[in-house]
């Protein structure tokens, strides 16, 4: 950790008003996207990446970081007010947030949620700042076998985001990997699966694919269900929490923040897992666990600190190893490459001028989030009520613009639409789309390093098991796959049992 560089980065970020403005815009846009049910932080980042194309890398990335942090925080506003989490990360917050809202304390719940988000986000950002350079140092020792095993580990994480079926998650990932082989082969230069199209020589462009997966697919679902979605009403009173309410929850906030950061740093877990685990831990260690779920501030503080801390945690593997922690960081990883930066250990060797401002920006974003969150909660609450019949066409249009602006190509718009239609059907048939995103990121890394390793070792696959770091990644991947398999199986059994009990009760009635 170079403190001189960090101090310089802070002065660059904080004393340059334009940087400050971009973080502010990012945070505000992120909160709006996060607060609107059906629009996730992933979608927000995907849609707003095109607005950073013309910006210098630092400003563009600061804006995207703002969207990420704002999006995760914003999800709690709709969760508290209308019992519909704006993002999956806010699902745990509504357990106590909505009961508080029913008691007429929605403002207080949003207020304490904002402070907890600030504490969590700042803790996560600070840990990220100090831990990332150390991990990157280890990453610098990696050769092709290590990178290949790392990609396998990252792809193994697909299991954890596979939803109800591991098999379908794996199939979605293979589909994503198949997309990555389109275009010039990185080692031999042979064009593959381009069918003579000039547009496909460079491969399927990341942003249009991303917008198809997360933007169009959601728009199509919204249009399909537009007549069945109920109108939304929301009301917020006093927001600023009392000092005593903050201090009495500080311990929970810090504990959840540290836990959330480390949970977020495990690739594949993400902010939603962090929120539920920290909520569970707060309930377990509370003196009055029976009050959880009835509307207590502690039940809002814990998941909000946890999920916002996970934003910093999720950035650690993305920046240091090039393996995204969750879907949003996968989008951020794509954004870095668009700005000419390749995430991974080399970033810490070659681009310290960008890395340290990212650290500083991430910390500064938390302060802006606190100010914007507390002062603008009423406005954001009003935005939730925006007519979906206006909002959906606007998002549709942003998807078109986003997929066009990358290469000014109508081919990309068409490609994006096709991917959107595929993603729309995939979700209906229980094929998760997030593994495709991870595969798009990790596919080229996996293929190049797998082939390089096999060429170096003359086709001997033991090269992946005889090198300690490589073997460790493969062991970790196996451990994660096995534990996730049993977790998903257990959840399915529990669901089956509760369905049986429910059908039995209905039958008796």
């Amino acid at each position: 950790m170079d403190f001189t560089l960090l101090a310089a980065a802070f002065s660059t970020v904080m004393l340059t008003p334009i940087n400050f403005i971009f973080v502010f815009i990012g945070i505000t846009a992120g909160i709006i996207v996060g607060a609107l049910p059906g629009l996730t932080a992933t979608m927000g980042c995907a849609l707003l990446i095109p607005f950073t194309f013309g910006l210098p890398p630092i400003q563009g990335l600061l804006m995207l970081i703002g969207i990420f942090c704002g999006g995760i925080y914003g999800g709690s506003i709709s969760g508290i007010l209308i019992r519909t989490p704006g993002t999956p990360a806010a699902a745990a917050t509504l357990l106590d947030g909505y009961p508080l809202s029913q008691k007429g304390l929605a403002g207080k719940a949003i207020g304490i949620g904002t402070v907890a988000s600030f504490v969590g986000g700042t803790t996560g950002a600070v840990i990220m700042t100090f831990l990332s350079p150390q991990i990157a140092k280890i990453g610098l020792k990696f050769g092709p076998p290590e990178f290949c095993s790392l990609a396998i580990f990252g792809l193994g994480m697909i299991i954890t985001i596979s939803g109800r079926s591991i098999l379908k998650g794996i199939m979605a990932a293979i589909f994503g990997l198949m997309i990555t082989v389109i275009g010039f082969d990185p080692l031999s230069g042979v064009p593959r699966f381009t069918f003579g199209s000039q547009n496909l020589l460079g491969g399927v462009t990341f942003i249009p694919a991303l917008i198809g997966l997360f933007g169009y697919a959601q728009v199509f679902r919204n249009i399909e269900k537009i007549t069945t979605l109920p109108p939304v009403e929301s009301k917020v009173e006093k927001i600023l929490p009392k000092i005593s309410e903050i201090t009495s929850n500080l311990k929970t906030m810090f504990k959840s923040a540290v836990m959330g950061t480390f949970i977020g740093s495990i690739p594949g877990t993400g902010c939603d897992v962090a929120a539920f685990i920290t909520y569970g831990e707060a309930k377990r260690s509370s003196k009055h666990p029976e009050k959880f779920g009835t509307g207590i501030l502690e039940g809002v503080a814990a998941p909000e600190a946890g999920n916002n801390a996970a934003t910093g945690g999720a950035m650690i593997p993305m920046l240091t190893l090039g393996v995204p922690g969750d879907a949003v960081t996968a989008v951020l990883l794509g954004a870095l490459t668009i700005h000419g930066l390749q995430p991974g250990p080399m970033l810490f060797r070659d681009h310290l001028d960008v890395i340290y401002p990212i650290f500083a920006g991430m910390i500064m974003a938390q302060f802006i989030l606190l100010i914007v969150g507390l002062s603008g909660a009423r406005v954001f609450a009003k935005l939730i009520t925006v007519d979906r019949r206006i909002l959906t066409p606007v998002i549709f249009f942003l998807c078109v613009v986003g997929s066009y602006a990358m290469r000014f190509s109508f081919f990309d718009v068409g490609l994006s639409l096709v991917i959107g239609v595929i993603a729309y059907f995939m979700e209906y048939y229980d094929y998760p789309v997030s593994p495709i995103l991870l595969a798009l990121i990790l596919g080229p890394m996996a293929e190049q390093n797998l082939r390089r390793s096999l060429i170096i070792s003359h086709g001997d696959p033991s090269v992946f098991f005889t090198r300690p770091i490589s073997a460790a990644f493969i062991l970790l991947a196996v451990a994660v796959i096995i534990s996730s398999y049993y977790r998903i199986k257990k959840t399915a059994q529990r669901e089956q049992q509760s369905a049986l009990i429910e059908s039995g009760t209905n039958h008796e009635a």
Partner: protein
Amino acid sequence: MKKADIGVGIGLIIISTWIFWYASEYSKATIYYYGPNFFPQFLAIAMCICAIILILNAVRGKSLARSDRIHLKGFIRMVIAIAICIGYLFLMQAIGFAMGTSAFLYVLMMFIGQQGQVKRITSSIAVSLIVWAIFRYFLIIPLPTGMFAFTF
């Protein structure tokens, strides 16, 4: 979801077989043993195995129950919306970005049932002009100008 799983499985086996065969052509292109055909063929085999497991699970009655269904009316609405979007892509090239976008937003809002005429007009014009201005003057990214090259 049994029928869907079997259908998807069979479709994927056919596609995987084709990918395997198509990628084998690339092996002639280089001297490497692990050449450009290696990874696609590896993926084709992996997908084929997964598809067979999917079919077997479906035949053994282990398919997941559907959590949601596509509503026919809604689906038709979605298809028409995509058609409107495709029309918009051509219109944008003919009459320019801002004007084409205003028309697209207005038509789509009307199509999905937005009742307020004033709201439709103001929001569609405002959104298209704001985004056009951001791209043109702030990000300096060129957008289609159509026949009205002087402005929008």
